[in-house]
Symmetry: C2
Subunit: 110 residues, 2 copies
């Protein structure tokens, strides 16, 4: 059978991930796995934009943008500030933006 079992406990976290880590990791990558969200995050990496500005610049419907911003806000990847009736969204997670930039650079070098 498997002569390795029983040895990989305690100090060595071994070959398995605990459920909570697994959940956070999968959620993080899921946020970055859809073209619409990638476009939004990439745009926001260049600056702060209102919902309507995002929709116009990316040729998306306002409601689509609003839904995806809620998704990203729930994961605390974006934040917003209000100015009268307008909400300006911006990035709120350096690590995740870094993952995105790394992967875009990597993809562009093929």
């Amino acid at each position: 059978m498997n002569e390795k079992e029983g040895l990989n406990t305690i100090e060595d976290r071994g070959e398995f991930l605990d459920e909570e880590t697994l959940f956070i990791v999968s959620q993080t990558f899921k946020a970055l796995s859809e073209p619409t969200r990638i476009k939004i995050l990439y745009l926001l990496s260049k600056g702060e934009y209102s919902v309507n500005e995002i929709a116009e610049k990316l040729s998306l419907q306002q409601t689509t943008v609003s839904h995806q911003l809620r998704f990203l806000k729930n994961l605390r990847l974006v934040k917003f500030r209000r100015e009268k009736t307008t909400l300006f969204y911006s990035c709120d997670d350096e690590h995740v933006m870094d993952l995105l930039k790394q992967t875009i650079d990597h993809a562009r070098h093929h």
Copy 2:
């Protein structure tokens, strides 16, 4: 400088991603966005394992593992070598494994 269209080509790539980059990026993150695939990749980051070993260690069905390995193989994230009737799978993309490790570390720091 950034008055709408026309100027943000070449040196400044601007606020938009080309379709091909967008596709590669989304596929890459999609690979890392599902718990089963994360478990498999994390296990493979520790060494080389056969399909049945992966299934046993992770308490997954053989067919599930086989399907997900095909997914990962299509994206060239894993490779395999044959030894008699057994296929030993291992990681084949340093950059993607690095993304995974970074994100696991980040998640574990809460």
